[in-house]
């Protein structure tokens, strides 16, 4: 996983609440056996119309979206299915962070494990950010993971919290599977004290 330390970027605003993973990446694109290439289908049914043409009123299609690495989303972003294809698609499209007031559990977990930073701000800070971006759509936001702060276009800084372990892994590019594999002895000890409940054999 690529380390994440800080990011300064313009944003795309998608203010709807409860955006589910079926919208982020519709199920018909889950037949792939790859992680890459899903960005082309990110928000497919919202981004493209019945004729396959980009919908001009969808925020990701706006000229101001070009180069934006931060998605500003509504509350409870990423609810629904456990598909990790959702953060993969967001990353593949070019996003590196999502700002909201709250994330669904599995989405947040998946995002942290793939290097996409979920930033949960207070409702007041999030509301302020929406206002500032409405006034100047190309304004930039600075996210610093070390200090867990987001600096908005108006210069105000706001704290956010990331699980200390996930933060450590992101800052240092530590991979969790590598970490768990080092627990081999402890796992073996547990296994010898706890006989298996079932066998699928």
């Amino acid at each position: 996983m690529k380390p994440f330390t800080s990011l300064t970027s313009s944003c795309v605003v998608l203010p709807a609440a409860n955006v589910d993973t079926d919208q982020i990446i519709p199920a018909r694109f889950l037949k792939t056996v790859e992680r890459r290439g899903l960005g082309a289908h990110l928000f497919a049914d919202w981004r493209v119309d019945e004729q396959g043409q980009p919908r001009s009123d969808f925020p990701l299609n706006s000229p101001s979206a070009v180069g934006a690495e931060i998605l500003v989303a509504g509350h409870n972003f990423g609810c629904g299915s456990s598909r990790e294809h959702a953060p993969w698609a967001l990353l593949d499209f070019g996003f590196r962070a999502v700002i909201s007031t709250g994330f669904a559990d599995i989405f947040r977990n998946n995002a942290l494990k793939t290097g996409l930073l979920p930033v949960a701000l207070s409702a007041a800070a999030h509301g302020g950010l929406l206002d500032q971006l409405a006034a100047s759509p190309r304004a930039r936001v600075a996210i610093d993971l070390e200090s867990q702060t987001a600096t908005l276009p108006d210069g105000t800084s706001h704290g956010f919290k990331v699980d200390p372990f996930a933060r450590h892994c992101l800052l240092n590019g530590v991979d969790e599977l590598g970490f768990l594999l080092k627990e081999d002895a402890a796992i073996a000890t547990y296994e010898s004290a706890h006989p298996a409940r079932v066998s699928t054999r």
């Binding site: 409870n76 629904g80 456990s82 598909r83 998946n110 298996a196 409940r197 079932v198």
Partner: protein
């Protein structure tokens, strides 16, 4: 509820399962290392995890605690010469990849030609692999289904699938506890599906984020195992990490004699252990909600997430009545997508498709309920009804009882086992603009096919709707 003999502080069921699966407890700086008793695998969320193992040259640690099945992108059109026709090359590549992976890593697979194949959350319980007190995971959010047996069962992402394959453990923070107390007797025509839709409407789509729901109360106790599975299945739709129900005699009776269930002295020991798995009296929950079963009506969703549900004889809410502006915007958008007006009744709204199936409602008792309504009646003109059993075992059991004949004589399609139109990956899907009453669990935009509109309801409501050709109240079906 039981009180443990020693004087340790009272614990919830989740606390008990959690503490007995700790390879390493959590600290401020690191999550717990939690042991996984059973890992279920399907074709959609596993290929990239196996690829990760290959990249690192790591084996599957416990293939004997792992079981794979094919369900999501599998066809459900009737077999010709015993064989299934897979939708396209992408789907067949994905299915073949699972075969290759299971072969290479020594994992048992219920493939398309295995007589036990079916939806991952149907086969675990059906085979007796799902047992009380276990930790069960799968790269699938509806893994909460297995919580009906008093297991801590939750969905994980593909990175975590690779963690479990390689180490049989997960890095986890302990979830919070939320009690859902449902007391009273269900009126006739009202089922487990209606209870859970009412619970989700009450808690809200993200209301249980960070929590495990423990369902309790006399109404829950009186439910059979398949109904309990329907309840636990949809916990995720309120944002919960899992949902569970303490095991009791109903649970033990269901497990007894199943292929992977313990036998003889092992069975006695297991039951003795399972009987300790109830929340202690006085155990504290971070939150609790109550529901009166007697006051419930059949429930149906009107919007584009599962919390947007009303009693079937109720009226679609006015967005202007919403508590917050975000909710108003959400409701407005949902009603536009569903082509509904605020204040209208759903009864009498015509539908194009009725889908009976999915890990929520595709077990034998669900099919019996739907068949009881269909018997001697006919699917209305212009309506397509699909009945998709959750597993090949369910299919055979239904056929042995003649349920297939009832459905086919009524003009419904009797299909092979799989997820089918719940997720619309296999070619079973709505056309743009079509409406369906479905017994599945998600009504998100396009979930059942791009541009399709989904109304979630019970098998009884689905069958009544198929007969009427429009959304109907089973309690007043002529």
């Amino acid at each position: 509820m039981t009180r443990s003999a020693n004087m340790s502080p009272p614990e919830t069921l989740v606390d008990k399962i959690w503490s007995s699966h700790l390879v390493r407890p959590e600290t401020e700086s690191t999550p717990a290392v939690l042991y996984v008793d059973l890992h279920l695998v399907h074709e959609v969320t596993s290929p990239q995890a196996f690829a990760e193992l290959r990249t690192r040259d790591v084996r599957v640690r416990r293939p004997d605690l792992t079981l794979a099945t094919m369900d999501h992108s599998t066809p459900t059109t009737p077999r010709s010469n015993g064989h299934l026709q897979v939708l396209d090359t992408q789907a067949s590549t994905q299915l073949k990849q699972l075969e290759t992976n299971c072969d290479e890593f020594g994992i048992k697979l219920f493939g398309l030609d295995d007589s036990r194949q079916g939806i991952v959350h149907v086969i675990g319980p059906e085979q007796g692999l799902t047992q009380p007190g276990m930790t069960i995971v799968c790269g699938d959010s509806h893994t909460s289904t297995h919580g009906a047996f008093g297991a801590l069962a939750f969905g994980i992402g593909t990175s975590e699938v690779s963690h479990v394959l390689a180490t049989q453990t997960l890095l986890q923070r302990k979830p919070r506890n939320m009690l859902v107390q449902v007391d009273g007797t269900l009126p006739s025509g009202v089922t487990a599906k209606d209870i859970i839709l009412a619970v989700i409407a009450k808690i809200g789509i993200g209301g249980a984020t960070g929590h495990v729901l423990e369902y309790s109360g006399s109404a829950i106790r009186s439910l059979g195992m398949e109904e309990r599975m329907t309840i636990c299945n949809m916990s995720i739709e309120a944002g919960a990490r899992a949902g569970l129900i303490a095991p009791d005699d109903t649970t033990f009776e269901y497990i007894a004699g199943r292929p992977f269930a313990p036998t003889g002295a092992d069975w006695d020991a297991a039951v003795a252990r399972w009987k300790t798995l109830a929340s202690d009296e006085g155990a504290s929950y971070d939150r609790s909600v109550q529901l009166d079963a007697a006051s419930l009506a059949p429930m149906i969703t009107f919007g584009t997430n599962p919390s947007m549900a009303i009693p079937i004889d109720g009226r679609v809410p006015h967005p202007t009545d919403a508590d917050t502006s975000a909710e108003r915007v959400d409701l407005d958008k949902a009603l536009r997508y569903m082509a509904l007006e605020p204040g209208q009744s759903l009864l009498g709204r015509t539908v194009d498709v009725v889908f009976v199936g999915s890990c929520t409602n595709s077990r034998i008792s669900d099919l019996r309920e739907a068949a009881a309504v269909m018997r001697g009646r006919h699917v209305a003109d212009g309506v397509r009804m699909l009945v998709v059993p959750g597993s090949r075992n369910v299919k055979r059991a239904a056929e042995a009882e003649g349920l297939d004949r009832i459905f086919m004589e009524a003009g419904a399609e009797w299909r092979e086992a799989g997820c089918s139109m719940c997720i619309a990956m296999n070619g079973d899907q709505l056309a743009p603009g079509q409406s369906a009453v479905s017994t599945s669990n998600r009504n998100f935009e396009g979930r059942q096919g791009k541009g399709g509109r989904t109304f979630l309801a019970s098998p009884l409501t689905a069958a009544a709707t198929a007969v009427a050709g429009a959304i109907a109240d089973v309690r007043t079906l002529s």
